[in-house]
Protein backbone atom coordinates (compact mmCIF):
# COMPACT_ATOMS: atom_id res chain seq x y z
CA UNK A 1 0.00 0.00 0.00
CA UNK A 2 0.81 3.55 -0.46
CA UNK A 3 0.83 4.19 3.23
CA UNK A 4 3.38 1.42 3.84
CA UNK A 5 5.90 3.01 1.59
CA UNK A 6 5.32 6.56 2.90
CA UNK A 7 8.40 8.49 4.05
CA UNK A 8 8.56 10.92 6.89
CA UNK A 9 9.48 14.50 5.98
CA UNK A 10 12.78 14.01 7.71
CA UNK A 11 13.49 10.85 5.74
CA UNK A 12 12.69 12.68 2.51
CA UNK A 13 14.89 15.61 3.36
CA UNK A 14 17.70 13.30 4.41
CA UNK A 15 17.38 11.40 1.18
CA UNK A 16 17.37 14.52 -0.96
CA UNK A 17 20.33 15.87 0.96
CA UNK A 18 22.17 12.62 0.33
CA UNK A 19 21.36 12.92 -3.38
CA UNK A 20 22.78 16.45 -3.45
CA UNK A 21 25.85 15.52 -1.47
CA UNK A 22 26.69 12.59 -3.67
CA UNK A 23 26.83 14.82 -6.75
CA UNK A 24 30.45 15.69 -7.31
CA UNK A 25 29.61 18.83 -9.33
CA UNK A 26 27.65 20.33 -6.43
CA UNK A 27 30.53 19.74 -4.04
CA UNK A 28 32.48 22.55 -5.51
CA UNK A 29 30.63 25.03 -7.64
CA UNK A 30 31.06 28.62 -8.73
CA UNK A 31 27.94 30.75 -9.15
CA UNK A 32 27.58 34.33 -10.23
CA UNK A 33 24.64 36.47 -9.20
CA UNK A 34 23.38 39.52 -7.34
CA UNK A 35 23.14 39.61 -3.58
CA UNK A 36 19.75 40.34 -2.02
CA UNK A 37 18.15 40.03 1.41
CA UNK A 38 21.59 40.11 2.92
CA UNK A 39 21.68 39.52 6.70
CA UNK A 40 24.82 39.36 8.78
CA UNK A 41 23.76 37.62 11.98
CA UNK A 42 25.16 39.83 14.70
CA UNK A 43 25.61 37.01 17.20
CA UNK A 44 26.99 34.14 15.17
CA UNK A 45 28.66 36.20 12.43
CA UNK A 46 27.12 33.98 9.76
CA UNK A 47 25.81 35.66 6.64
CA UNK A 48 22.47 34.75 5.06
CA UNK A 49 21.39 36.04 1.69
CA UNK A 50 19.91 35.18 -1.69
CA UNK A 51 21.75 35.11 -4.97
CA UNK A 52 19.60 36.04 -7.93
CA UNK A 53 19.58 36.84 -11.60
CA UNK A 54 16.79 38.13 -13.85
CA UNK A 55 14.73 34.96 -13.57
CA UNK A 56 15.65 33.03 -10.47
CA UNK A 57 17.00 33.16 -6.96
CA UNK A 58 18.75 30.68 -4.70
CA UNK A 59 19.38 30.84 -0.99
CA UNK A 60 22.93 31.08 0.25
CA UNK A 61 24.74 31.06 3.55
CA UNK A 62 28.31 31.91 4.49
CA UNK A 63 29.51 30.83 7.90
CA UNK A 64 31.52 33.08 10.16
CA UNK A 65 34.62 30.97 9.64
CA UNK A 66 34.62 31.97 5.97
CA UNK A 67 33.27 35.48 6.51
CA UNK A 68 36.39 36.47 8.45
CA UNK A 69 38.49 36.02 5.32
CA UNK A 70 36.33 38.35 3.26
CA UNK A 71 38.22 41.44 2.24
CA UNK A 72 35.04 43.46 1.74
CA UNK A 73 31.57 43.67 3.20
CA UNK A 74 28.90 42.15 0.92
CA UNK A 75 25.97 44.44 0.20
CA UNK A 76 22.61 44.05 -1.48
CA UNK A 77 22.79 44.67 -5.21
CA UNK A 78 26.45 43.65 -5.46
CA UNK A 79 27.24 41.15 -8.20
CA UNK A 80 29.54 38.47 -6.84
CA UNK A 81 31.20 35.20 -7.73
CA UNK A 82 30.59 32.61 -5.04
CA UNK A 83 32.54 29.41 -4.66
CA UNK A 84 31.19 26.71 -2.40
CA UNK A 85 29.02 23.64 -2.32
CA UNK A 86 25.31 23.14 -2.79
CA UNK A 87 23.40 21.15 -0.19
CA UNK A 88 20.11 20.86 1.58
CA UNK A 89 19.09 22.35 4.88
CA UNK A 90 17.12 19.42 6.17
CA UNK A 91 15.02 21.26 8.75
CA UNK A 92 13.41 23.55 6.16
CA UNK A 93 13.73 21.32 3.14
CA UNK A 94 15.47 23.97 1.14
CA UNK A 95 18.60 23.67 -0.85
CA UNK A 96 21.15 26.41 -0.65
CA UNK A 97 24.63 27.39 -1.53
CA UNK A 98 27.15 27.08 1.28
CA UNK A 99 29.54 29.82 0.23
CA UNK A 100 33.21 29.44 1.10
CA UNK A 101 34.57 32.44 -0.73
CA UNK A 102 33.16 35.43 -2.49
CA UNK A 103 34.67 37.83 -5.01
CA UNK A 104 33.00 40.92 -6.35
CA UNK A 105 32.53 41.14 -10.08
CA UNK A 106 34.50 43.81 -11.91
CA UNK A 107 36.72 45.82 -9.51
CA UNK A 108 38.68 43.76 -7.06
CA UNK A 109 37.52 42.91 -3.60
CA UNK A 110 40.29 45.06 -2.15
CA UNK A 111 39.12 48.14 -3.98
CA UNK A 112 35.59 47.64 -2.74
CA UNK A 113 36.81 47.06 0.77
CA UNK A 114 38.95 50.18 0.50
CA UNK A 115 36.03 52.32 -0.61
CA UNK A 116 33.73 50.86 2.04
CA UNK A 117 36.12 51.48 4.88
CA UNK A 118 36.99 54.91 3.56
CA UNK A 119 33.31 55.81 3.46
CA UNK A 120 32.71 54.51 6.96
CA UNK A 121 35.71 56.29 8.51
CA UNK A 122 34.97 59.51 6.61
CA UNK A 123 31.46 59.46 8.03
CA UNK A 124 32.97 59.07 11.50
CA UNK A 125 35.02 62.19 10.88
CA UNK A 126 38.30 60.35 11.24
CA UNK A 127 39.81 62.12 8.23
CA UNK A 128 38.49 65.59 9.07
CA UNK A 129 40.95 68.42 8.81
CA UNK A 130 39.99 69.41 12.32
CA UNK A 131 41.65 66.19 13.47
CA UNK A 132 44.95 67.08 11.83
CA UNK A 133 47.71 68.11 14.18
CA UNK A 134 50.14 70.82 13.12
CA UNK A 135 53.64 69.60 12.30
CA UNK A 136 56.43 70.91 14.53
CA UNK A 137 58.73 73.45 12.89
CA UNK A 138 61.92 72.02 14.34
CA UNK A 139 61.36 68.36 15.28
CA UNK A 140 64.18 67.07 17.45
CA UNK A 141 63.27 63.41 17.86
CA UNK A 142 61.60 61.79 14.90
CA UNK A 143 60.05 58.34 15.15
CA UNK A 144 60.55 56.39 11.93
CA UNK A 145 58.24 53.41 11.49
CA UNK A 146 59.24 51.28 8.52
CA UNK A 147 60.99 48.10 7.48
CA UNK A 148 64.57 47.55 8.66
CA UNK A 149 65.48 46.16 5.24
CA UNK A 150 63.58 48.34 2.79
CA UNK A 151 64.97 51.30 0.86
CA UNK A 152 62.57 53.63 2.65
CA UNK A 153 64.66 53.71 5.84
CA UNK A 154 67.84 54.57 3.95
CA UNK A 155 66.01 57.22 1.94
CA UNK A 156 64.70 58.84 5.10
CA UNK A 157 68.13 58.71 6.77
CA UNK A 158 69.73 60.29 3.69
CA UNK A 159 67.26 63.13 3.51
CA UNK A 160 67.42 63.88 7.22
CA UNK A 161 71.25 63.74 7.26
CA UNK A 162 71.42 66.21 4.42
CA UNK A 163 68.67 68.59 5.45
CA UNK A 164 68.49 68.46 9.21
CA UNK A 165 71.31 66.52 10.85
CA UNK A 166 70.49 67.90 14.30
CA UNK A 167 67.52 65.54 14.41
CA UNK A 168 67.55 62.20 16.16
CA UNK A 169 65.83 59.22 14.61
CA UNK A 170 64.04 56.76 16.84
CA UNK A 171 63.66 53.84 14.50
CA UNK A 172 60.89 51.28 14.96
CA UNK A 173 61.40 48.31 12.67
CA UNK A 174 58.09 46.82 11.49
CA UNK A 175 56.74 44.54 8.81
CA UNK A 176 55.51 46.74 5.96
CA UNK A 177 53.46 44.04 4.27
CA UNK A 178 51.82 40.76 5.13
CA UNK A 179 49.70 39.69 8.05
CA UNK A 180 51.80 41.38 10.73
CA UNK A 181 52.06 44.72 8.98
CA UNK A 182 49.06 46.37 10.63
CA UNK A 183 49.62 45.00 14.13
CA UNK A 184 53.33 45.86 14.18
CA UNK A 185 52.69 49.37 12.90
CA UNK A 186 49.98 49.86 15.53
CA UNK A 187 52.35 48.67 18.22
CA UNK A 188 55.12 50.97 17.05
CA UNK A 189 52.84 54.02 16.95
CA UNK A 190 51.50 53.27 20.41
CA UNK A 191 54.99 52.66 21.74
CA UNK A 192 56.25 55.98 20.37
CA UNK A 193 53.22 57.68 21.89
CA UNK A 194 54.16 56.41 25.35
CA UNK A 195 57.52 58.20 25.11
CA UNK A 196 57.21 61.88 25.89
CA UNK A 197 60.01 63.26 23.77
CA UNK A 198 59.01 62.26 20.24
CA UNK A 199 58.10 65.32 18.17
CA UNK A 200 57.01 63.64 14.95
CA UNK A 201 56.48 60.23 13.38
CA UNK A 202 57.25 59.28 9.80
CA UNK A 203 55.63 56.01 8.74
CA UNK A 204 55.77 54.38 5.37
CA UNK A 205 57.35 52.08 2.88
CA UNK A 206 58.42 52.01 -0.74
CA UNK A 207 56.20 51.12 -3.66
CA UNK A 208 54.46 47.79 -4.14
CA UNK A 209 51.29 46.18 -5.38
CA UNK A 210 47.90 47.02 -3.90
CA UNK A 211 48.13 43.77 -1.94
CA UNK A 212 51.60 44.72 -0.65
CA UNK A 213 50.34 48.05 0.61
CA UNK A 214 47.13 46.55 1.95
CA UNK A 215 48.22 46.56 5.58
CA UNK A 216 48.07 50.34 5.51
CA UNK A 217 44.32 50.11 4.93
CA UNK A 218 43.74 48.11 8.08
CA UNK A 219 40.95 49.69 10.09
CA UNK A 220 42.70 49.40 13.45
CA UNK A 221 45.94 50.82 12.07
CA UNK A 222 44.07 53.70 10.45
CA UNK A 223 42.42 54.42 13.79
CA UNK A 224 45.78 54.25 15.58
CA UNK A 225 47.22 56.75 13.11
CA UNK A 226 44.27 59.12 13.54
CA UNK A 227 44.40 58.98 17.32
CA UNK A 228 48.17 59.35 17.69
CA UNK A 229 49.01 62.31 19.92
CA UNK A 230 52.25 62.75 18.01
CA UNK A 231 51.80 64.20 14.50
CA UNK A 232 52.31 61.59 11.79
CA UNK A 233 53.52 62.04 8.22
CA UNK A 234 52.71 59.05 6.02
CA UNK A 235 54.65 58.18 2.91
CA UNK A 236 53.38 54.89 1.61
CA UNK A 237 54.33 53.61 -1.84
CA UNK A 238 54.60 55.98 -4.77
CA UNK A 239 52.98 59.25 -5.77
CA UNK A 240 49.88 57.49 -7.12
CA UNK A 241 49.31 55.17 -4.19
CA UNK A 242 46.78 56.23 -1.63
CA UNK A 243 46.13 54.26 1.54
CA UNK A 244 43.71 55.00 4.33
CA UNK A 245 46.69 55.74 6.59
CA UNK A 246 47.45 58.62 4.23
CA UNK A 247 43.98 60.03 4.86
CA UNK A 248 44.25 59.55 8.61
CA UNK A 249 47.75 60.94 8.97
CA UNK A 250 48.38 64.61 9.65
CA UNK A 251 50.27 64.99 6.40
CA UNK A 252 50.44 62.69 3.40
CA UNK A 253 53.68 62.55 1.48
CA UNK A 254 53.93 60.84 -1.92
CA UNK A 255 56.99 58.79 -0.91
CA UNK A 256 59.07 58.09 2.21
CA UNK A 257 61.79 60.49 0.97
CA UNK A 258 59.21 63.20 0.47
CA UNK A 259 57.90 62.53 3.97
CA UNK A 260 61.36 63.22 5.34
CA UNK A 261 61.65 66.38 3.22
CA UNK A 262 58.35 67.66 4.56
CA UNK A 263 59.25 66.72 8.13
CA UNK A 264 62.21 69.02 8.60
CA UNK A 265 63.53 72.42 7.56
CA UNK A 266 66.65 72.68 5.43
CA UNK A 267 69.92 73.40 7.21
CA UNK A 268 70.78 76.16 4.71
CA UNK A 269 67.59 77.97 5.66
CA UNK A 270 68.48 77.55 9.30
CA UNK A 271 71.88 79.17 8.81
CA UNK A 272 70.08 82.02 7.10
CA UNK A 273 67.52 82.20 9.87
CA UNK A 274 70.25 82.51 12.51
CA UNK A 275 72.17 85.07 10.46
CA UNK A 276 69.05 87.06 9.92
CA UNK A 277 68.18 87.05 13.61
CA UNK A 278 71.61 88.24 14.69
CA UNK A 279 71.51 90.88 11.96
CA UNK A 280 68.23 92.09 13.37
CA UNK A 281 69.67 92.09 16.89
CA UNK A 282 72.64 94.19 15.66
CA UNK A 283 70.33 96.66 13.99
CA UNK A 284 68.07 96.86 17.01
CA UNK A 285 70.98 97.60 19.33
CA UNK A 286 72.44 100.17 16.91
CA UNK A 287 69.09 101.90 16.72
CA UNK A 288 68.76 101.73 20.46
CA UNK A 289 72.16 103.33 21.06
CA UNK A 290 71.56 106.01 18.43
CA UNK A 291 68.22 106.85 19.94
CA UNK A 292 69.79 107.17 23.37
CA UNK A 293 72.60 109.32 21.95
CA UNK A 294 70.14 111.61 20.23
CA UNK A 295 68.22 111.92 23.44
CA UNK A 296 71.37 112.78 25.37
CA UNK A 297 72.18 115.45 22.79
CA UNK A 298 68.69 116.79 23.08
CA UNK A 299 69.01 116.97 26.86
CA UNK A 300 72.39 118.73 26.63
CA UNK A 301 70.82 121.31 24.38
CA UNK A 302 67.95 121.86 26.77
CA UNK A 303 70.41 122.15 29.63
CA UNK A 304 72.45 124.78 27.82
CA UNK A 305 69.32 126.86 27.45
CA UNK A 306 69.03 126.87 31.22
CA UNK A 307 72.68 127.97 31.80
CA UNK A 308 72.64 131.10 34.07
CA UNK A 309 75.42 132.70 32.02
CA UNK A 310 73.26 132.38 29.02
CA UNK A 311 70.34 133.87 30.88
CA UNK A 312 72.49 136.83 31.95
CA UNK A 313 73.66 137.26 28.36
CA UNK A 314 70.13 137.20 27.16
CA UNK A 315 69.02 139.69 29.78
CA UNK A 316 71.89 142.12 29.04
CA UNK A 317 70.92 141.91 25.44
CA UNK A 318 67.42 142.87 26.36
CA UNK A 319 68.68 145.84 28.39
CA UNK A 320 70.85 146.97 25.50
CA UNK A 321 67.99 146.85 23.13
CA UNK A 322 65.74 148.74 25.53
CA UNK A 323 68.45 151.42 25.86
CA UNK A 324 68.67 151.66 22.14
CA UNK A 325 64.95 152.12 21.87
CA UNK A 326 65.10 154.77 24.58
CA UNK A 327 67.84 156.69 22.68
CA UNK A 328 65.89 156.55 19.50
CA UNK A 329 62.77 157.80 21.25
CA UNK A 330 64.54 160.69 22.97
CA UNK A 331 66.39 161.69 19.83
CA UNK A 332 63.09 161.68 18.03
CA UNK A 333 61.55 163.99 20.59
CA UNK A 334 64.53 166.35 20.42
CA UNK A 335 64.49 166.48 16.65
CA UNK A 336 60.77 167.18 16.60
CA UNK A 337 61.08 170.02 19.11
CA UNK A 338 64.08 171.48 17.32
CA UNK A 339 62.11 171.65 14.11
CA UNK A 340 59.17 173.26 15.87
CA UNK A 341 61.49 175.76 17.48
CA UNK A 342 63.07 176.78 14.21
CA UNK A 343 59.63 177.32 12.66
CA UNK A 344 58.56 179.41 15.64
CA UNK A 345 61.71 181.50 15.64
CA UNK A 346 61.27 182.09 11.93
CA UNK A 347 57.73 183.26 12.60
CA UNK A 348 58.94 185.37 15.49
CA UNK A 349 61.52 186.98 13.25
CA UNK A 350 58.81 188.03 10.87
CA UNK A 351 56.87 189.57 13.70
CA UNK A 352 59.77 191.75 14.94
CA UNK A 353 58.82 195.41 14.14
CA UNK A 354 62.44 196.30 13.65
CA UNK A 355 62.64 193.56 11.04
CA UNK A 356 59.78 195.20 9.16
CA UNK A 357 61.33 198.66 9.43
CA UNK A 358 64.60 197.31 8.12
CA UNK A 359 62.67 195.99 5.17
CA UNK A 360 61.40 199.61 4.59
CA UNK A 361 57.91 199.28 6.19
CA UNK A 362 57.55 202.43 8.41
CA UNK A 363 54.77 202.46 11.05
CA UNK A 364 52.52 205.51 11.06
CA UNK A 365 51.18 207.05 14.26
CA UNK A 366 48.53 209.65 14.82
CA UNK A 367 47.85 210.92 18.29
CA UNK A 368 50.15 208.17 19.54
CA UNK A 369 47.99 205.47 17.93
CA UNK A 370 49.13 203.20 15.17
CA UNK A 371 47.40 203.97 11.89
CA UNK A 372 46.62 201.04 9.59
CA UNK A 373 44.03 202.52 7.18
CA UNK A 374 43.82 205.76 5.29
CA UNK A 375 40.25 206.24 6.49
CA UNK A 376 41.55 206.86 10.00
CA UNK A 377 43.12 210.11 8.70
CA UNK A 378 41.74 213.42 7.58
CA UNK A 379 43.21 216.23 5.66
CA UNK A 380 45.16 218.41 8.03
CA UNK A 381 46.01 215.67 10.58
CA UNK A 382 49.47 215.46 11.87
CA UNK A 383 51.14 212.03 11.67
CA UNK A 384 54.40 210.75 12.98
CA UNK A 385 56.63 208.28 11.03
CA UNK A 386 58.81 206.20 13.32
CA UNK A 387 62.14 205.43 11.69
CA UNK A 388 64.83 203.49 13.39
CA UNK A 389 67.06 206.36 13.73
CA UNK A 390 64.40 209.04 14.52
CA UNK A 391 60.95 210.44 13.77
CA UNK A 392 59.45 212.58 11.09
CA UNK A 393 56.38 214.62 11.94
CA UNK A 394 54.24 215.21 8.82
CA UNK A 395 50.96 216.94 7.81
CA UNK A 396 48.39 215.12 5.81
CA UNK A 397 47.90 217.19 2.67
CA UNK A 398 45.34 215.06 0.91
CA UNK A 399 43.44 211.79 1.29
CA UNK A 400 43.01 209.47 -1.66
CA UNK A 401 41.40 206.06 -1.46
CA UNK A 402 42.87 203.32 -3.49
CA UNK A 403 40.68 202.54 -6.39
CA UNK A 404 39.79 199.02 -6.92
Amino acid sequence: MVTDSALTVSQLNTYVKMMFDSDSRLKRICVVGEISNFVNHYKTGHCYFSLKDEKSAVKAVMFAGSVQYLKFRPENGMRVYITGRVSVFERDGVYQIYAESMEPEGVGALMIAFEQLKKKLTAEGLFDNSNKKPLPQFPQKIGVVTSPVGAALQDIINVLSRRYPIAEIVFCPVAVQGVNCASENIKAINQLNTKNDIDLIIMGRGGGSVEDLWGYNDEQLVRAVASSKIPIISGVGHETDFTLCDFASDMRAPTPSAAAEIAVPDIEELYQLTDNLIFRADNAVDNYINTKKDYAKHLAMQLSLLDPRRIIENRSGEILSINKRLDIAINGIFAKNEAKLSVLSEKLKLLNPLFMIEKGYIPVYSNKKRVFEVNQLQKGDTITLNFVDGQAVCDVVDIKNTEN
Partner: protein, 68 residues
Protein backbone atom coordinates in the same frame (compact mmCIF):
# COMPACT_ATOMS: atom_id res chain seq x y z
CA UNK B 1 72.72 76.42 27.40
CA UNK B 2 74.40 73.10 26.77
CA UNK B 3 71.32 70.89 26.72
CA UNK B 4 69.12 73.39 24.93
CA UNK B 5 67.30 71.93 21.94
CA UNK B 6 67.76 73.73 18.64
CA UNK B 7 64.07 74.55 18.56
CA UNK B 8 64.17 76.17 21.99
CA UNK B 9 67.42 78.00 21.25
CA UNK B 10 66.08 79.54 18.05
CA UNK B 11 62.79 80.41 19.74
CA UNK B 12 64.65 82.11 22.59
CA UNK B 13 66.77 83.99 20.07
CA UNK B 14 63.65 85.14 18.24
CA UNK B 15 62.12 86.35 21.50
CA UNK B 16 65.23 88.30 22.44
CA UNK B 17 65.44 89.93 19.02
CA UNK B 18 61.78 90.98 19.26
CA UNK B 19 62.45 92.46 22.70
CA UNK B 20 65.51 94.31 21.41
CA UNK B 21 63.54 95.62 18.45
CA UNK B 22 60.97 97.17 20.78
CA UNK B 23 63.82 99.25 22.18
CA UNK B 24 62.10 100.10 25.44
CA UNK B 25 64.44 98.38 27.90
CA UNK B 26 67.09 99.93 30.13
CA UNK B 27 70.57 100.05 28.63
CA UNK B 28 71.97 97.49 31.04
CA UNK B 29 69.30 94.95 30.12
CA UNK B 30 69.71 95.69 26.43
CA UNK B 31 73.41 94.94 26.64
CA UNK B 32 72.71 91.77 28.61
CA UNK B 33 70.14 90.59 26.06
CA UNK B 34 72.38 91.40 23.14
CA UNK B 35 75.13 89.39 24.76
CA UNK B 36 72.72 86.49 25.17
CA UNK B 37 71.56 86.81 21.56
CA UNK B 38 75.14 86.61 20.33
CA UNK B 39 75.75 83.51 22.41
CA UNK B 40 72.52 81.86 21.24
CA UNK B 41 73.24 82.54 17.61
CA UNK B 42 76.73 81.11 18.07
CA UNK B 43 75.21 78.11 19.79
CA UNK B 44 72.69 77.54 16.98
CA UNK B 45 75.33 77.87 14.29
CA UNK B 46 77.70 75.55 16.12
CA UNK B 47 74.88 73.08 16.54
CA UNK B 48 74.26 73.11 12.79
CA UNK B 49 77.99 72.91 12.07
CA UNK B 50 78.57 69.92 14.28
CA UNK B 51 75.30 68.07 13.81
CA UNK B 52 75.36 64.44 12.83
CA UNK B 53 72.14 62.52 12.52
CA UNK B 54 71.68 60.19 15.51
CA UNK B 55 69.83 56.95 15.05
CA UNK B 56 68.43 54.93 17.89
CA UNK B 57 66.56 51.70 17.34
CA UNK B 58 63.52 50.94 19.40
CA UNK B 59 63.63 47.15 19.34
CA UNK B 60 61.52 44.51 21.01
CA UNK B 61 64.35 43.67 23.39
CA UNK B 62 64.72 47.28 24.48
CA UNK B 63 61.06 47.46 25.13
CA UNK B 64 60.93 44.41 27.39
CA UNK B 65 64.07 45.41 29.28
CA UNK B 66 62.59 48.88 29.69
CA UNK B 67 59.45 47.42 31.10
CA UNK B 68 61.21 45.26 33.59
Amino acid sequence: MKNLKYENAIKKLEEIVSKLEKGDLPLEETIKLYDEATKLSGYCTAMLDNAKLKIEELSEKRETSDNE
